[in-house]
Symmetry: D2
Subunit: 280 residues, 4 copies
């Protein structure tokens, strides 16, 4: 009477710290890794037959063992090594790897960047996603989460649709604050994934700063266009932006004006705008 | 050079409290509502032309105004009213409504359930999702989030695939703890959405308690099967369960045994198991 | 030039699960324990001399080992055992133990409460705090965190101080919602800590429900008074209540009235009211 | 029978955004402010008499109105203005102001720091606390929260107290990661609160990086000493550091060594170390 139509399983929150020592100078990589498998696992569900089931505990071990065995210079490369490994199991038809990188940066000292001490940097967190389906070309995405930005002018929202339930006033000068979540697919590997990420993030920051925004939607499009123009290896980008509203405070009850100076930041409700932009 | 291939926007975190008074007895409904629209909004993105754009602020107003104007007896019914409203706009091709219900229950007193005082109940949070695509039949899902359960026995994990990176010992008696996230689609509306939800949640709790589990996967299947058997209006259910591990503590260094008595709860890493079960 | 004037250290987040088996019937206790020590540890700080330092890792081990070695029937009793243990170290002058109990309740089945399957219950989380200073009488507190309550009437806020910056209208009928955090000290041990806790929580829930509230402050006082009257072993109670505002939505722009029916819940800003009530 | 022995109340989460425009160049300040009052409010609690009660809603209004009326160049200065205001009420005996500053930094562009676009910076969040008791000298604290740091070497933990429950191995080379929470009191106002904060934070970062740590305690002392030496206006500092453990992964089951290269980051349990350092 019942049928299993979809299933997947894996390990989340595998937190890997790798320190590579080059004399006094240490390189630190911290990744939060997720491994998800799809495959011939139906009997695990329907019959309690675990013979094909690779324990999620083994996935965790694999992350640490591969990190020790292999050299890699990017989350994307490490994700590829993990995918290679899990596709060796015949029962696996698809491997998905997600990784978030802790944004550590070297502490500045009089003698320059410190060789082995770090502080949390940013802005935003670098992400990567790899999908390896048996028999299909591998797909690689990168992105940034929690890229918080705010501009105090050059943002408008006017000329919108009005109905009997509309009370929002039009504005030609508002604060625009958001936390960008962007994910882009690489049609082919860039020379350096780190450089491509830095380039993509800088491009989005500059575009956000410089764009004359008619709406959050309008800025998403501008950032997507700019990204495709800047990084040739990117074929498509999805951007999601919550509107972290800063509302003008009404000071009239206290006999004061408020010439776009005093705002209240609110967390909810919030607008959420999404768009996916591809090359023609 | 660039093209917008997908877009949607809406308002999240619209927190509605509605009090209905029947003499001394008050009914309290609290929903956290999300409205998402898809439609002819491309020029909002690509040209900064807002003429078709319904502000997310108006969506928020609409939630409160409709809640005042209309009677409804379930989140599903309210979601339907919202979808009706937004499909009246010609530029909208698809409306998605999500709602989570705060689980308030009446405070018990000597005189029985209190007429107007409540405390947060549970277990879990009732959810609903409605998808209204112009010209297509409406689809309605309900579900539960954060349904935390734990059993201290009748859970095993053995006979699994082993490789050189496997260290997990087999076990025929372990603690099984999870936080169930389940979403089911109604092929047709049940007589009462509230009763169907209660029935579905009870069914899952009883199944979790009574099932001889060979794995998290095995229990997902059992719960899905039971749900389809119990609530005839449900056509399909997706269940996701993180494994909230309780690991046996090694007390040997202190000269003690540990006959399945002392465990440590860990938050990460954690297994995450998913399955979708449908009627044949 | 510098002097250490205060110090303490310990282990937080020690998550203990203990299962006690009585035939088919299992008892489950889950505690999140914190151990804090004060004592002759100055040289650990100032000279890097660890000879008196009990590692926090040993504190963690101690929680698990004592949980295996000893029987206890309450968080308060277990905290006492831990304090006894750590005061055996000569360098320790004061031990503070904090414990939060996960509120598991048995799943209901046709055959009654299930012998070994549980779901997260509530309302609120039971807490305990023990302070054992060498040479001083031991002090024991219990409490509840996150006890979420809401009443839809019998709450007013009027007659308050007004100045040029006051805009809040007086109200004689509002929603009162809060999340109670209460901590009470036991002057002497009650016959049963569990029964005393249940009695205290019920008392606060009933008082919240029944009280004609003139303000959050007023209800704190009423709850404190009621608690001291109900549980004779309690000498003093501190209560803290955030005001989880439900604001009446202005529907006039849509041509609607709002007879105390439609509200918006806001998270911030929020009032925070505290009071400590003792016996005369 | 009951007596109110302590009480306070106030408003939390008052989120203020202030934009100051100097031609094209905008200055952005975002504070999360908390106002707490102590005073002659007993009858508010015990009799429901609100005549002395300043509504927390008025406190919120006051934050926005003063922000518009007054110029201020630091959270400390703004806290002082708020304290002045609330001490004008005769019923208030003590005002406590807390403020956290959102760490916005200008987006870098080819043309230098952007005049009106910002991204979230860091590291850590600047805090301030002011206590104004009627008739007593005002006290001012500043600090930093969430200052996340990690060093991959020059950290040891050895020579500690051992007992039958100790299993931790001694180590002379471990990773040391923490999130510093520091609060310092100013005996007198520095010329610039911003410069004093920057100096204090830099000093702590450099000290963390350069110190040969024998324990978390040892580093707290070193950082406290360094801070007092660097910023002459600071009279005392309290530092709290959770130990964000990075544990060496045991790779022996896979036939691999692990020469301090592969670690797992854990969130709980965690050591928590505190110390307060004052001038002699």
């Amino acid at each position: 009477m019942a049928r299993l139509v979809e299933s997947s399983y894996g390990k989340c929150g595998v937190r890997l710290t790798k320190v590579v020592r080059d004399g006094e100078r240490h390189t630190l990589v911290e990744l939060d890794v997720q491994v998800i498998l799809v495959g011939a696992f139906d009997k695990v569900y329907t019959e309690g037959d675990n013979s094909t089931c690779i324990p999620t505990d083994t996935m965790k071990n694999t992350v640490y063992a591969l990190a020790r065995e292999k050299d890699f210079d990017s989350p994307e490369a490490f994700a590829g090594l993990l995918a290679d490994h899990f596709l060796e199991f015949g029962q696996v038809s698809c491997v998905e790897i997600l990784a978030e990188e802790e944004p550590w940066t070297r502490i500045s000292t009089d003698g320059g960047p410190h060789p082995h001490a770090f502080t949390r940097g940013g802005p935003g967190v670098r992400t990567c996603r790899l999908l390896a389906e048996r028999g299909a070309p591998r797909r690689t995405w990168a992105g940034v989460n929690g890229l918080e930005v705010l501009k105090t002018t050059r943002s408008a929202f006017a000329g919108f649709h009005k109905d009997r339930l509309t009370t929002l006033p039009e504005t030609h000068d508002r604060i625009f604050a958001t936390s960008v979540e962007a994910t882009w697919e690489y049609a082919r590997a860039p020379r350096s994934f780190a450089a491509a990420f830095d380039s993509a993030r800088s491009c989005m920051l500059e575009c956000f700063a410089g764009h004359d925004s008619a709406s959050v939607q309008h800025t998403i499009w501008a950032m997507g266009e700019a990204l495709l123009a800047r990084v040739p290896e990117i074929s498509e980008v999805s951007i999601r932006m919550p509107n972290r509203h800063r509302l003008l405070v009404n000071l009239q009850p206290f006999g004061m004006d408020n010439p776009n100076e005093i705002f209240v930041a609110t967390r909810e409700p919030y607008g959420l705008i999404s768009g996916t932009i591809t090359r023609e």
